[in-house]
Structure formats: C-alpha cells, structure tokens
C-alpha cells in the first residue's frame, strides 16, 4: 500500500485505499480487544501485573476504548466508505491517493493519541479523553479528508439518485467533524461545571448516535441487498430511519446526566427523545429483516449475512435498553453500574462490530478478488465473537444489577466487590474469546490476500464454492 502514497492518482489500482483501511481496522481490533482482555484480567485477578503505572487499569482503560472506537470501528467504516460509496454511485472513488494518505494519517494520529493516553496525558473527560491537539488533528487530518473523499465521490456519481447507504455515509462524515469541534469546546475554552459535563456527554452520545450507529446501519443497507440479491425492502423506510436518527439521536445527551443538577426540562426532553430512538431502530431492523424475504437460507449458509443479521438482531435489545434505561426510574437503579458497560459493549462489540465485520469480510474479498481463505476459520471467528460477547454481556448485566442493588441498599462496597467477582472472571473469559477469535480473523484475511481462490471478473465471492 505504501508504495502508492507518492504515485499518481490514476496509477493507483481501485480499492487500494479500502484494503489499507480494512487491514488497519483488523489490526486495531486485535490490539483493542487484546487490551480489553488484559484490562478484564486486572479486574478478575487484582494481583495480575502490578507495580507499573503504565499497566495500571486507570492508564489502560482509555487506550482500550479509543483503540476500538477510533481504530477498529472507525477504520472499518472508512474501509466501507472507500468501496461502497463509489460502488453505489457507479463510479470510482474520487481520490484513491487521498484515501491512502487518510488511512496513514489516521493510523499515525491514533497511535500518537493512544501513546499520550497511555502516558497519562488526558483531558480527563470520558470518551473525549484525547488532549485538544489530538482532537484538532482528528478533525483536520482524519475526519475532514474522509468527508471530502466521500462527498466528492457522491457528487461525481453516475446514478440519478443517492442510495440510502450513501445518505448515511455523507451525513455521518460531516456530523462527526461537528461533534469533535463542538464536543471538545470545554477543552478549547476551559469551560467548567455543568457546561463541561453536558458537552462532554453530548460528545460521547453523538459519537455513538451520529457516527457509529448510522454508519453501521448504512453498511447493512448495502451488505444484505448486495449479497442476497434482493432489493432493499423500502427506500422510504430507509429515509424515515435517516431523518429520525438525525432528529432524535442528536439531542438526548442529557439522559447521561439524569442525576445531575441540569434543568429539569432538559432532562425530561432528553428522556423523551431517548425513547423516540425506537423510531429509527424499528425502521432499520424491520427494513433489513424484510429485505431477507425468500433468502433466509443464507442466514445459515453465508458468513456475511449471518454476521449482519446477528448484528441486526442485537439492535433490538440494544435500542430497547437504550430507549428505556435512560428513563428516570430505571436510570436511578442502573446508572454507574456494570449494566451500562454491558450496554455499551452491546452497541460497539455486538450490533456495530457484527455489521462492520461483515463489511470487511465482503469488501476485502471483492476488492482483492479472492475467495475467503478458510470458511472454518471464518466460522470459528463468528462463534468466538458471538459466544465471547454473549458471555461478556450476560455477566456484566447481572454484575450491574448486583452493583445497583448494592448502591440502593447501601451495602458495604467491599461486599459488592466480592459479590461481583465470579462475573468479572466470566467477563474476562468472554473478552479473551473475542480477542483470540480476532487473531484468527487477521490470519484468515492475510491468507485470503495471499492464497485465496481467485474470483473471476463479474462474480461475487459467495458464488464460488469453498475449497477448504
């Protein structure tokens, strides 16, 4: 990939940028989940690796969070945009060269940011932990170049309309830049108190609501019709999904602060908006499941479809939890407990990751024109991800309920820690299973690039029989 950085744009093979983004994403996924497994081990076994501040939980937790959000998830999104946007516009990517440089700058910026976080240089605000120079770097060298490439590709399309997926892509790359600039205002201008708290959670909520959720959904709008050969059930429901995400998902930041002394009207408004998130959620899930009509056998036989539909199924509990856990009564019980950690992983490691994994599997096979090296390894990856994640989610939800009970009944803290211990071990086992599955995936995709069966021009990878 690096040899094309200084080549002329027209000399760079189509899809080069997507391959760079795709493999970067998988490597970050391995690193991110490896860090997660390490951190979980520290919670399960308190004497595991002590005495060095760089391996302390407080240093490493943010590194894990940012490696998976801005490394794995965001670079998988970049990969999807690099090949899906031009495909849906019946054109080429506007600039492969910009895409390659963008991926390089993304990797450099993220590595720099993570090293700073690891060293303890942090803004101190959850999710917007990066210090402000890194925030500005992310906007200027990571988000805006991606935005330009996607927008110019959409503008230069050779189709009459803009398919739902590209609506989501184009708006999300614009919105994430705004989210970074606005959400980090407290750090740029030293805002404090409730303003700082509100903007911090406005940022955190909207990285999820205006970046991760819509782009992950947009990927499913491409993957399922493309692989099954069925047209999307309803473009109009796709529009309903898009606009209801923009309206309802951009405003409920205060539901993260239901116990804070924010204005009551703001908290009530946020809570109602939070429940209305069910509108885009139901639109999305029903649209995708109805698109599967007549092709449900592919849920069994096709790896990409199985990943995507499993992720879409996870969107149901994700949005039921998300819609109602921020109402005042439920929030009173579960706020600040492991339930929220489980919910966050249901969003990022469940729903979103399963959709992105499908996009990376499909995209790398299509661009490299190589059939997946090993279906067995692919299946093992799927099951290790699903069983590992389910173990993690169930154990953390139950641990959260124990913590909630401990909090409300004012049980001595150490009793709660002891009560949670078995669930922390289960959490570590689940997380480690995900990490090992991802190592297998990296090997499988590397071998696909090197030794996968060549897919003939004009054919889809799944139309060929597996040879291993």
């Amino acid at each position: 990939m690096l040899k094309y950085l200084f080549a002329k744009n027209e000399d760079i093979p189509a899809g080069s940028a997507a391959v760079f983004w795709g493999f970067s994403a998988i490597v970050w996924f391995v690193i991110g989940t490896g860090l997660g497994s390490f951190n979980a081990a520290k919670l399960a076994f308190p004497d595991f690796v002590t005495g060095n501040e760089f391996f302390a939980f407080g240093h490493m937790r943010q590194v894990h969070v940012h490696a998976v959000i801005f490394g794995w998830i965001s670079m998988a999104f970049g990969m999807a945009m690099m090949y899906i946007t031009p495909a849906l516009g019946n054109t080429k990517l506007w600039s492969e060269k910009l895409g390659l440089w963008n991926a390089l700058m993304w990797n450099i910026g993220l590595s720099l940011g993570l090293v700073l976080l690891w060293a303890g240089v942090s803004s101190g605000r959850e999710y917007s932990d990066f210090p402000w120079p890194i925030d500005l770097y992310i906007v200027v060298f990571m988000a805006v170049p991606l935005c330009i490439n996607v927008w110019m590709t959409v503008i230069n399309r050779r189709t009459q309309g803009i398919y739902t997926t590209n609506w989501f892509f184009a708006s999300a790359v614009f919105m994430v830049s705004i989210v970074f600039l606005t959400g980090n205002l407290p750090e740029f201008f030293h805002l404090t108190g409730l303003t700082e708290a509100y903007l911090t959670w406005w940022f955190a909520h909207n990285v999820l609501g205006l970046w991760i959720t819509p782009v992950a959904a947009a990927i499913a709008y491409y993957t399922i019709p493309k692989v099954t050969g069925n047209p999307l059930y309803s473009h109009r429901i796709g529009h309903l999904h898009f606009w209801s995400v923009v309206v309802f998902y951009s405003t409920p930041a205060a539901h993260h602060l239901m116990s804070a002394p924010l204005p009551e009207w703001l908290k009530s408004f946020a809570s109602v908006e939070g429940v209305l998130i069910l509108v885009p959620a139901i639109a999305f899930v029903s649209n995708i499941l109805l698109t599967m009509s007549g092709k449900w056998y592919m849920f069994v036989e096709n790896l990409e479809v199985r990943f995507t539909i499993t992720g879409v199924l996870m969107a149901i509990p994700l949005n039921m939890q998300g819609g109602f856990q921020q109402t005042r009564a439920i929030n009173w019980y579960i706020h600040g407990t492991g339930w929220i950690v489980a919910h966050a992983h249901l969003a990022l490691l469940g729903f979103s990751t399963f959709l992105e994994a499908a996009a990376v599997y499909l995209g790398l096979q299509m661009i490299l024109k190589r059939k997946l090296y090993s279906l067995t390894l692919g299946n093992m990856h799927f099951w290790m991800l699903l069983i590992g994640f389910t173990t993690y989610w169930v154990s953390m939800t139950i641990a959260g309920l124990i913590q909630g009970a401990g909090k409300i009944y004012e049980v001595p803290y150490i009793d709660v820690v002891i009560a949670e211990h078995p669930y922390m071990i289960a959490r570590w086992l689940g997380g480690t299973m995900v990490f090992v599955g991802n190592v297998l995936w990296l090997y499988n995709m590397w071998m696909t690039a090197r030794q996968g069966t060549v897919v003939p021009e004009g054919r889809m990878p799944h139309e060929l029989a597996y040879e291993r």
Binding site: W296, M314, I402, G404, A405, E420
Partner: protein, 94 residues
Amino acid sequence: MSTKKSIVSRSFWSILIGGMLTGMGNGSVFGAAVMCMLGRGGFANWGGVGLTAYDPATFQGFIDWAMIIFGLAYVVILVVGLGRHDKLERQAVA
C-alpha cells in the same frame, strides 16, 4: 435445497444464542421497569452472590428471571419465524 435440513435445524445454535441474547436484552429492560414500579424489599434482599440472588422479590432476582423468560420467548419466535420462511423457500425452489 429440498434435500437439505430445515433452516431451523441448520441454525440451531444461532437461534439459541442469538435468540437468548436478543430476548434477555429486552427482558432486562422489562424487568427493571416492573421492579421500579413495584418498589423494593428490605436490606436483606439486596441480592448479592450467595444471598437471595434469584429471589423474585429482589430487583436482581426478578430481572434475571425476566431475562431468561424473554430469552426463551425470542428463541421460540425465531423458531416459528424461520420455520415459516423455510416452508416458503422450499415451495419457491420446488
């Protein structure tokens, strides 16, 4: 297609794990909502490990049970739904 096993039997583990996961997520919210409405018991029923963790009168106990029941319900929904799709797809192939 017609000689193959049904979609339900071929996706047994996906239905079981995916269905339980989906249902348990919804059951968790339902359980929490009901318990918040009904109120809570005494200090002794806080629900720690080795205590009355699965006592339906406790928050945790009730929600755990709600999760399991919702999980089973979603497994049933998937079995019924995929079973019907299997019939339709077999007819289409035949």
